[in-house]
Symmetry: D3
Subunit: 166 residues, 6 copies
Amino acid sequence: MTDHAPTPAEPRLTHLRDDGSAHMVDVTDKQVTKRVASAQAVLTTRPEVVSAIFDGTLPKGEAVGTARIAGIMAAKQTSALIPLCHPLPLSKLDVDITTVSPEQVRVVATATTKGVTGVEMEALTAASVAALTLYDMIKAVDNRAVIGDIMVLAKAGGKSGDWSRS
Amino acid sequence: MTDHAPTPAEPRLTHLRDDGSAHMVDVTDKQVTKRVASAQAVLTTRPEVVSAIFDGTLPKGEAVGTARIAGIMAAKQTSALIPLCHPLPLSKLDVDITTVSPEQVRVVATATTKGVTGVEMEALTAASVAALTLYDMIKAVDNRAVIGDIMVLAKAGGKSGDWSRS
Amino acid sequence: MTDHAPTPAEPRLTHLRDDGSAHMVDVTDKQVTKRVASAQAVLTTRPEVVSAIFDGTLPKGEAVGTARIAGIMAAKQTSALIPLCHPLPLSKLDVDITTVSPEQVRVVATATTKGVTGVEMEALTAASVAALTLYDMIKAVDNRAVIGDIMVLAKAGGKSGDWSRS
Amino acid sequence: MTDHAPTPAEPRLTHLRDDGSAHMVDVTDKQVTKRVASAQAVLTTRPEVVSAIFDGTLPKGEAVGTARIAGIMAAKQTSALIPLCHPLPLSKLDVDITTVSPEQVRVVATATTKGVTGVEMEALTAASVAALTLYDMIKAVDNRAVIGDIMVLAKAGGKSGDWSRS
Amino acid sequence: MTDHAPTPAEPRLTHLRDDGSAHMVDVTDKQVTKRVASAQAVLTTRPEVVSAIFDGTLPKGEAVGTARIAGIMAAKQTSALIPLCHPLPLSKLDVDITTVSPEQVRVVATATTKGVTGVEMEALTAASVAALTLYDMIKAVDNRAVIGDIMVLAKAGGKSGDWSRS
Amino acid sequence: MTDHAPTPAEPRLTHLRDDGSAHMVDVTDKQVTKRVASAQAVLTTRPEVVSAIFDGTLPKGEAVGTARIAGIMAAKQTSALIPLCHPLPLSKLDVDITTVSPEQVRVVATATTKGVTGVEMEALTAASVAALTLYDMIKAVDNRAVIGDIMVLAKAGGKSGDWSRS
């Protein structure tokens, strides 16, 4: 299924123990600090579908709100979805959904906790599930839509310090 | 948050009712048929990280297997994650994880059901969560990795007939 | 904790076996038919809070949509919440949220399945959780709000035939 | 769907941002204190059904115990059910179920946490789901039963201080 | 971690594909039939703890009922707990908890479905989680209690025909 | 269902209140300390099935890894499965799966938290669900396999001090 050779400088994946088996790494003694992470996902579809999502003419088109709530609720399930993620109590969560071009909708999720591990996975999960929810609502009119550019935008707090993709 | 004007040809989103409110559409009288869908997600990272994921040297490196199980388990939670998705009983699920270039890992999920709606969302959810699980395991060594090209590859069964991207 | 005497005409609860222990009753051989149920819950609060919920002035106030999605998602979790409920595949779900008086918001949920048992519990769960979600959003401005009148409005399908509260 | 005009004194819902979109509000910097809340729900049915619930003649009638466990387990799922609720660790939970009149069963749930937000929603969710579970068990003998008077009875702890409905 | 040599007659695990990777096997075309399975778990503790569980003196000791409900609710989560299990709709579930010796409590769970796969895993999960729930309630008085003899007792329906241990 | 007489020295189950009803006990004021617990479960089957599980000949046989992930994910759901368990944030989790005799596979789970209650139930749940997952994968080749010897091996931290089964 794969034929590449191991690279000499192959980094160590901390989620695998010396024998290669998976585990939840030890965060018991890490410090409780405020940690923030933001991540995005981008849905690319046809311009008229982007219009339908944002629903310029209807007073209460709920496509965007539905995706936002899906993202918020998924973020709270992150440790149930991602096997080696530690559970942590989210203390704030925002999901922003905007058009960034005539055919692109961008979801940005920002998660905050006061805890012992970062919240990148929560932000990524929120953005991804919000984008999947948008896809679900448009798939009948554009099943060729694509979700991409899922990435961490910035994080703050924790031992590794603040960081932002530039 | 958005300033585009509604397009005349704006398609109707079936998940929204006439007043714009969201609902689960009626599939009560749709026919029970065998339905298959496959979808993918692609993780792009550094070549040595791809090597670490596939872990050429260790006898039982579980990174790939962990992502696969995460994808399978997430697929079964699709209707709990995507608000307007109908619950349906998956009858088969495969998640394949391979390298497609020195810096890219591709997840392909194929879902099958005998039911009244398609399983694109299950396949997309499996592929996305498997890719997020890979990201979780590598984020300590490459927090700039990107997940993209999430799309449906093919579907079969149901009224709309067979379809495959190409 | 209770001192009433048993009534001679005390009805038998089918969810309890002869020795009084709880179980999931047998629906194996019941017929698969289309079944519909609708149920409501009513939130009573101050008029200005009702206005804030429906948010007359803002373009995209999401209070109502958030409650609707909460109700839809909860309906799909009914058998996980109510211990003796059978799991069944919802094929349609609508949640309508309207003002019925200056100080009352009414949630009506209508659930449909093609299955072996009725969907009253799904409709009741959707209406209740939507109302609780509204309460959550207004509790900072009216912690004395009350949820009541939770009841089944009508049901159709199944052996017991159609029924509607008049 | 609603035609009331916004009231001048319309309060601000903190769960909605300035543009009306929903989010999980920021509790990151709130103080960790002991917080208690109690809430109730009341089921009204026929007297002989109340008797059947409390099951005066059977040695181990489990109707009440089943509803209690349903309430306890639902309380732990509150943040998964109510979209904008913060997850918090319950440190104590009691659910009391008593008759308050020949045709009324009252559920009182009392939740405690040491956390940054109140536990009203946990107490309300426990009481509501326990009452729905009672309804589920009696619906075959009284489908006209009604659940009402769902309200917070008292809360203690947190910045807003102690409060009790009188 | 293991040093045994592969046995020549090593059976094929159907949940693993030819390359050893896990998947959910294909049950799409299996026939829908009535399927029943029963399974047990046995908790061994001190005689006075067995007495406390069955609580001879109290009118409504809920230890046994709590374990029963835990088992019933866990059975409905089987496909969410066991990665390669197919979801299926339970149509009946009984959990019986009895003393089988002064120091042993036996849980027997019997699950029924009308579906395409057997329900052994549902019965085993119900029995195991009911026994774990009993352990949870007694661990403060006997942390040396042991759960064992978890096994399938009988199954009926499906292509492989009826079967019963003995 | 049981005919034993209550023993004079019958211990008090703290999960039951004076009237016998179940509740989540109060841990609000217990101290946050590091707590560790390990527990095991043992699967007994035929030697060639043990070989198939460990899959000596295939490069990536995922049976063991799948069971491990199932155990880790179940541990995070412990308070959702065991009705009276308090939710707590796991900070580390290891699941080791080894052969201990030609026909026995032993699962040992070790859980850690910084919290107010012990993590025995998390360790027991991880070990049990991992063993059930192994059973699921082998049931087609040995439906007479038995899971037993589920017990706590050691615990550390908390008021009751360190303890280990000798």
